[in-house]
Amino acid sequence: MLSKRSLVGVRLNFHTLAVLFFLLIGTQAFAADPSVDNSDEAVAAGKALFNTNCKTCHRLDQKLVGPALRGATDRAPVELVKSFIKNSQAVIASGNAYYSDLYKEYNNTMMISHEFLSDEDLNNLLAYIEYGDTADPAAATATGDAEGGAVAAGGGIPNEYLTIILGVLVVVLLLILIVLGLIISVLTKYLAKQDLDEDDKEFVSQKTNLGKVFKSDMFVVIVTALVVALVAKTALDGLYSVGVQQGYAPEQPIAYSHALHAGTLEIECQYCHTGVELGKSANIPSANICMNCHTHVQNVQGAEGVSPEIQKIYDAVDNNQPIEWVRVHNLPDLAYFNHSQHVVVGEVECQTCHGPIQEMEVVGQHSALTMGWCIDCHRQTEITTEGNAYYDKLVQIHSDSKDALKVKDIGGLECAKCHY
């Protein structure tokens, strides 16, 4: 009897300990104000409110733009927390020491007012803040990392496969060559032992004479033809490349990566190249546009300290010095090109001419930018005439032709369109 009771006692004790342990883990080193509702409904309602209104600056257990929120009602009275959420500036102005210090600690970053939240909303919000899920941030970063990894891995696979396939092919061919050589030697040896007539013996024992092959007319002719063709091709290619800067990819004063900004982060080209819809040049962004983000983003991948490349932007801004980017696309002065015309009216994508910029670490000239290249596009590109009264007459005039209305039909091949 006694032993039985004690057993129950032990089990009970263990149970309580476990509960206490989990409670301690869950609530960490503080206790929420007891008046905060911890029902599931309140927490769920609070979570929705939190995600719409708080998430961008706060996390429950992590410092972000603002402090980690869990335990807020432990650090200040519930009513004060509520009035702070509603109008933080008023609470700070009233001289509350805790909130004034907090405000200073976070570099006087103002929290916007949330006067629209009802008392019930606030209760639910606090319920979520104190009792909401703990595993959330970790899970979020984990999925984020996984996605990042998948994106990074996506680009390289086909090329690697190609190299592997080529390598395997070469190895297989070499093996076949060796095997054939072996077969020949074995057969020769076998035949040498047989009884053969003179002709056959001569045939079997003949050696491949390399010197003879080199001296044969056929060989000389083939090699000469090959060499001449190769040299002629290099020379012609060289001549055609005069004045063409395709492939020019100079090093820039700041190692800016389009692959990161336009590729991974999906910032649209026009965000920085603001002139592209307005005029001739697409514009290289001035440092203030960089600073829209880099005021806050001081290093890559959240690393500590200021990246030396980003520091160059800060130096340029501080000293009012222009950043001397190197121009990549240098169209000769004898040809006129207007970005807005092509991008707004022609609806040409940036990548059509500039190539896969979003994959380039260092930008290089993708297209040849020769006159033939321009003309080719003008010959092939059809014009979208629907819903544009400007083209009505042209469409009417063009209606006899079998071909669709193309840029060449509206003056796209006129010399003076580009050369004047």
């Binding site: 719409t52 209104n53 998430k55 961008t56 600056c57 972000l64 733009v65 603002g66 970053t109 103002m110 916007i112 949330h114 629209f116 939240l117 060499v227 001449v228 040299v231 002629a232 290099t234 020379a235 290619d237 060289g238 001549l239 490349s241 005069v242 004045g243 063409v244 395709q246 492939g247 020019y248 990819a249 100079p250 090093e251 991974t264 982060l265 910032i267 649209e268 026009q270 965000y271 603001t274 001739k280 040049s281 514009n283 001035s286 203030n288 546009i289 600073m291 829209n292 983000c293 005021t295 806050h296 983003v297 959240g302 010095q321 222009p322 121009r327 240098n330 000769p332 002065d333 004898l334």
Partner: protein, 238 residues
């Protein structure tokens, strides 16, 4: 005969390789065929040849004796080709907009006294959406919920559909786009005033469901008439 043959083949090979070297790539800009026709004599946007010494094969005809390709403006700071407007002059764009005059901190005044000069229409909303996606989605996300990819890095991006923001006036939104607020930088230099108002229409009507869209008109009937000239004012970065 043989020597002559070898020499001629060698000559062609050398010529070929030399010509192949003209090809551009990496730091090499390649050979220019007619630099005098390639380089702009007039000042050219985004082009600034600072080298005043190099002269081409032909004799430079410049009166100032500088190299024939030099096209920087010696009268400007850093020899740049562009220049800020003369002090105390007031630029006006094609639509007659004057520079924005509210300072960054005058957010209350801007929010109550400005009225969207662009009439609301389907085209304006479509255009507003396009512009929003160009300039705002990196941080605010396609739905305006502050969940853009860049916003995730910067942090503290406003959820435009959140309760604290849906009631804001159009003038307030315009002011914040122009001058920035909190962690958001000023986007006045990137987006033209008309386009900013189109974005305001889109944000107000589509993302925020039209709530409090005409706040500014209700409070400032009187100012509204003079607005076209006075209140869509825009100062160069201060």
């Amino acid at each position: 005969m043989k020597i002559a043959k070898t020499l001629s083949i060698l000559g062609i090979a050398v010529a070929g390789i030399t010509l192949a070297g003209c090809r551009a790539g990496g730091e090499n800009q390649g050979l220019e065929y007619a630099p005098q026709m390639y380089h702009s004599v007039a000042y050219e946007p985004l082009t600034q040849i600072m080298d005043s010494e190099t002269k081409g094969d032909l004799i430079s005809t410049r009166e100032d004796g500088k190299g024939e390709y030099f096209n920087s403006n010696i009268n400007n700071p850093h020899n740049m080709n562009m220049r800020e407007p003369v002090a105390n002059t007031v630029p006006r764009n094609k639509q007659g907009y004057l520079p924005y005059r509210y300072k960054a901190f005058e957010i209350e005044e801007a929010g109550t006294s400005m009225k969207n000069p662009i009439e609301l229409s389907d085209e304006v909303l479509t255009e507003g959406k396009r512009l929003y996606q160009l300039y705002c989605t990196p941080c605010h996300g396609t739905g305006g919920q502050g969940d853009g990819k860049v916003g995730a890095i910067i942090g503290g991006v406003a959820n435009l559909t959140g309760g604290a923001y849906v009631g804001l006036s159009e003038g307030h939104i315009y002011h914040v786009i122009t001058k920035g607020k909190g962690r958001m930088g000023a986007h006045g230099s990137q987006i033209t005033p008309e386009n900013r108002w189109k974005i305001v229409h889109y944000v107000k009507q589509e993302l925020q469901g039209g709530q409090n869209a005409d706040n500014a008109t209700a409070t400032t009937e009187v100012v509204a008439e003079a607005d076209q000239d006075v209140s869509q004012v825009e100062t160069p970065a201060n």
